[in-house]
Amino acid sequence: MQKLGFIVTDYLAEKANLDERIWVFDADLADSNGAESFIKTHSSRYIAAGIAEQNMISIAAGMATLNRIPFVYSFSSFLVYQAFNQIRTCISQTSLPVILVGSHAGGCCGKNGKTHTALSDIALMRSLPNFSIWAPCNKNDIAYSIDTIIKEKKPAYIRLPRDTCNVPFQKKEKPFYWIGKPSSVALISYGYSTQWAYEAQQTLKKKNIHIGILHFNRVSPISCSDIKNSLNNVKTALILEDHYTSGGLFSSLNELSLSTVLHSRGWHSSWSGQSGETEELKEQQALSTQSIINKLLKLGLNDSVKRIS
């Protein structure tokens, strides 16, 4: 199974055949984040920026002033944290169409450990004007996000995990949508956390318990009225975040004064990240499939199932 970063690049390469404005930049991680394959098809529009993210961001912004659309790759941590000031001044304040493609976002970075995690990147990025933040979980999400970003011609951040996702392909071209029917107790997730939600959903399904997942492909900006409509019959929702529970989607949705009671599960605010296999890290941080199911049961999932039946 392909990592999402590689799928992004394949789609970009396809788009770039017809759109000469598309360029790809990378800060020496192309083999890990998926940018590499663009060289095979469009080497003249591929820039190896070397290990110098601040320079790379500003170069891309300068290029964007001449009607180019640069997609700038690295690990999320090195884009957002290493070059945040350049993102702020050169992209956000100018509203230039530079697209950040950050892989290895969130807390699951294998042996790499804490320096490579990005646990508050959404909090930082959604504080900036003009940016949209995307967290696709499959090929269809990626196509929709890139098409929308190019059409909008504004700054964007595509947030991708290190691990693969196997959430089934859904032909839903919307910023957010239900995976399975809505349920009274539901899961809300985005990007890699939708993989966690999907695993919980499939485990519950084997016990004949249904839970709906409201998946956000676009994390920011979000439309208040659309979300209220989508959550119309949802009494309680557990938001899963591959991010600190503060500053991410839980915080965004709490700002909307929804009638749905919101709870969250994400990386604990006192945790800085560490080395370890994904399942080990999730287990330690109460994010394993069983931990999520236990939390849902505490939130009344069983009761709601009984009521429905």
């Binding site: 070397g50 601040q54 320079n55 170069i59 002033t65 001449l66 350049q86 001044t89 100018t94």
Partner: protein
């Protein structure tokens, strides 16, 4: 390119006249707005004048064109010098200078490409201009267009400057030209410790040469020398070029030149203002 071959003496006279006008504008409008970066604006004035008026093909008719030369004032705190020149070139209305730095004036304290015609990139957070210029130069490759970036010597303390320098060498970007305004002073500097090296940038020529750039030095207040150096830079085809412009902070006004740190960013009394205007009006001395 607007530069036409003409008698050097008449060109020299015209440039001197322009530079006096520019200096008077800088002092007048900075004072009027409540003060600002007198020192750096006056040190960079002559370089900016030559580039904007005699080198780049920027005018009121082509500001929005994709394929034309670009100019980035990376040391954005000296924006007043750029704005005065844009007004002298009729790219912006001279009346807008009256509201420089004010709310909705169209002239932000630091250059903002989203509000001011002729500002090719937003600057103010030091160190970013060369990188942005590289992006433009890459997009302008084989389009017979050049990108000029003006940085300060203090600004060269930023690490991103050297990330950009290494990148431009690697990609041999020959339509990118940097001018370092070496005015020898910065806001606070290092005078508190006599054991520290005092100049903002030590051995600039050696540093840029070590990064593989074509390096030239010039008296940064001698218009013709600057002009000729710029032409030589445009003819250098094997990679990026940098011009080390040796300047004086506050050039043209004695009180500024004598106290470069004090007049880095300040406001003037009415007496200081009138004296500065008078001195700037007769500034023809090109000796450093």
């Amino acid at each position: 390119m607007f530069y036409k071959k003409e008698n050097n003496d008449s060109l020299k006279d015209r440039m001197t006249k322009d530079s006096i006008t520019l200096r008077r504008f800088i002092i007048k409008y900075l004072h009027q707005s409540g003060g600002g970066h007198f020192g750096g604006a006056l040190s960079v004035a002559d370089v900016l004048l030559v580039i904007l008026k005699y080198i780049v093909n920027l005018n009121s008719g082509n500001c929005n064109k994709t394929y034309r030369d670009r100019i980035i004032l990376s040391k954005g705190h000296t924006s007043i010098a750029l704005y005065c020149l844009l007004a002298m070139q009729n790219i912006i209305d001279i009346d807008t200078l009256d509201n420089y730095g004010g709310l909705n004036a169209g002239l932000e304290g630091h250059p903002d490409m989203t509000v001011t015609p002729g500002v090719d990139f937003s600057t103010g957070s030091l160190g970013q201009g060369i990188s942005a210029g590289i992006g433009m130069a890459l997009a302008l490759k084989n389009k017979n267009s050049h990108v000029w970036v003006i940085v300060g010597d203090g600004e060269c303390q930023e690490g991103q400057i050297w990330e950009a320098a290494a990148f431009a060498e690697r990609y041999k970007i020959n339509n990118l030209h940097v001018i370092v305004d070496c005015n020898g002073a910065q806001e606070f500097g290092f005078k508190h410790d006599k054991f520290l090296l005092q100049k903002p940038l030590i051995n600039p020529e050696n540093k840029w040469r070590a990064f593989g750039w074509n390096v030239t030095s010039v008296n940064g207040h001698n218009h013709l020398d600057i002009l000729h150096s710029c032409h030589a830079m445009m003819n250098h085809s094997n990679g990026p070029s940098v011009l080390i412009a040796q300047t004086k902070k506050g050039y043209g006004v004695n009180q500024f030149e004598r106290n470069p740190e004090e007049f880095h960013c300040t406001e003037l009394s009415e007496y200081q203002f009138q004296k500065a205007l008078k001195e700037a009006s007769s500034c023809k001395n090109l000796d450093l």
